[in-house]
Structure formats: structure tokens, C-alpha cells
């Protein structure tokens, strides 16, 4: 990825950006301050790029191809799914983040949220995310 990478405005502000949420271990916590369950900020970390590039599934691209939103977890049974709105990521998160398409052979709907991410950035992403599929926890 080069520094010339630009925000792809064909991905509109109302589009969903989907990020898988592991179930083992459970990566959802109860946030007493906002009285709601939400993914931990750790769900918005990327090891390879030191958080600079965060992989997501572009929801509109996925559904336009005839797939259901839930299919973003099809290779990971039991995983949950969190949705961020593109406009929220563009406008409410600092430092500035940009959204790009980055299709791969394995995932033609793959995209990236690109930008430096401090711990606060990742926490804000977690707080802005909506859990649309709750991870399935193993019975103990």
C-alpha cells in the first residue's frame, strides 16, 4: 500500500463495513458505562500492519453480489460480526482514516480501513461498532 492511496468515495457513507468478532475466546464485553455489550477494541487490531490497515468486508459489495451479510462469517463458524458505518469512520474517528477496496482471490468484497490507529482510535472504533451477530459461545 502506498502513501498515494486515496479514500474511495464510491464507498458511500451509509455503507456497512463488517469486521468478524471471534467467539473463542469471547471478544465481546459488557460496557457498564454505555450499558451495552460491544466488541473489545482488540477486535480492531491488525498484527501484520501494526493496525495501519484493518481488513473489513464491504457489506454493499457483498449483498449486491447476492450474498447475505451473514456470509462474511461463513468460513468461521460461531464468529460474530460487527458493523461500522463508512461515514462514521470517515468523520468521527481520529486520526483520519480512509476506506479502500482491496479485493483478494479469497474475498472479492475485501476492503481496508487505512490510517494510523492509537489505542484510543481502536477503542472509539469498538464503541461505534454495532454487533449485528453475537458470537456463539461454547457451552461450558
Amino acid at each position: 500500500m502506498t502513501d498515494e492511496t486515496v479514500d474511495d468515495l464510491s464507498i458511500t457513507d451509509d455503507e456497512g463495513l463488517l469486521r468478524r468478532v471471534p467467539n473463542q475466546p469471547n471478544m465481546v464485553k459488557y460496557d457498564e458505562n454505555i450499558k451495552a455489550y460491544r466488541p473489545t477494541s482488540v477486535c480492531f487490531c491488525d498484527r501484520e500492519t501494526k493496525d495501519k490497515e484493518l481488513s473489513i468486508t464491504l457489506e454493499k459489495s457483498l449483498t449486491d453480489s447476492g450474498e447475505r451479510t451473514e456470509s462474511a462469517t461463513q468460513n468461521n463458524p460461531g464468529f460474530g460480526l460487527a458493523r461500522l458505518l463508512t461515514g462514521v469512520v470517515r468523520d468521527n474517528i481520529t486520526p483520519q482514516q480512509i476506506i479502500t477496496r482491496a479485493p483478494t482471490d479469497a474475498d472479492p468484497h475485501h476492503g481496508l480501513i487505512i490510517g494510523d490507529k492509537t489505542k484510543s482510535t481502536k477503542k472509539n472504533l469498538a464503541k461505534q461498532a454495532v454487533l449485528i451477530i453475537t458470537p456463539q459461545l461454547d457451552e461450558e
Binding site: 468478524r20 471471534p22 457498564e32 458505562n33 501494526k50 468460513n75 489505542k119 484510543s120 477503542k123
Partner: protein, 150 residues
């Protein structure tokens, strides 16, 4: 003697072998850490590393160093880079401690009451971090008192 696992670390903290003096909140953290030792690489489906031994032992160390008996138990999560994170989101405080090793952790703090927020890396001096956890503990005690009165 090098410490090679969580249980060995726990034993070094108890002066009497036959009586487990570890507070419940630290025991809960150690149990969570033990569960994380079984994680494989790519546990998040995005290429994560399994937790590193330095991070696991560092987490046990920091739990003993900063948690008081009455401190609320943190949520414990693996971080894709191999670190471990403790989190509290309660009593209008957001505290995240990302532990790299016994000698290094990264802290994100936010007080929703005062608006105070900062990020810092701590090495061996955990005085300021202990102070933050003391504040959290105090708030949890105050809340309990209010509940008892009401």
C-alpha cells in the same frame, strides 16, 4: 530461576505452599490467562499470533502488582500481536492495559466524569498505573456503599 508458566508464577507469590492466598480477582485473571495459553495462531481469522509467553507472564506480574483485593476483575483479552489486554469499562472509567512483558505495558485511560484522557507506555515503574487502579477500586467501593444505603 526463570519462571516458565502461569501456575509457577502464582506459586512464587504465595509464601505458604499449602494455602492459596491469592485473592479471587487475581485467581480469575490467572484462570483467563491459562485459557489463553491454548490459543493457536490466526485465532481471529485475520492472522493473529497466539499470546506470547512474555505477555502471559507479564500479565500475571502486573495483576499481582496493581490489583488490590477489592479491585473489580478486569476483562482479559488476547491481542493479535501476541500481547494481552486488561480492560475495565465501569464507574465512568475506561481503562485498557496492553501488556507486552513484565517490563512494558501500554495504557489508555479515560475518565468520563472529568474528561481526562491519556495514553502512556509504562516500563518498570507502575506507580501511576497503580494510582489509576486505586481510583477505580475506590469508585467501586463508593458505588457499593451507595447501593447499601439505598
Amino acid at each position: 530461576m526463570p519462571i516458565t508458566n502461569i501456575f509457577e508464577y502464582k506459586n512464587t507469590q504465595n509464601s505458604v505452599d499449602t494455602i492459596d492466598q491469592t485473592p479471587q480477582n487475581i485467581r480469575d485473571v490467572l484462570d483467563e490467562l491459562s485459557n489463553l495459553t491454548y490459543l493457536d495462531d490466526n485465532w481471529d481469522s485475520y492472522g493473529a499470533s497466539s499470546p506470547s509467553k512474555q505477555a502471559l507472564l507479564g500479565s500475571a506480574h502486573i495483576a499481582y502488582e496493581v490489583l488490590r483485593n477489592d479491585t473489580p476483575t478486569p476483562d482479559v483479552f488476547p491481542v493479535p500481536n501476541g500481547n494481552i489486554q486488561f480492560e475495565w469499562s465501569c464507574f465512568n472509567l475506561d481503562i485498557e492495559i496492553e501488556i507486552e512483558s513484565q517490563g512494558k505495558c501500554h495504557v489508555c485511560f479515560e475518565d468520563l466524569d472529568s474528561g481526562d484522557n491519556w495514553e502512556k507506555t509504562f516500563t518498570f515503574d507502575l506507580t501511576e498505573l497503580s494510582s489509576v487502579i486505586s481510583d477505580l477500586t475506590q469508585r467501586s467501593q463508593n458505588e457499593q456503599r451507595v447501593r447499601m444505603v439505598n
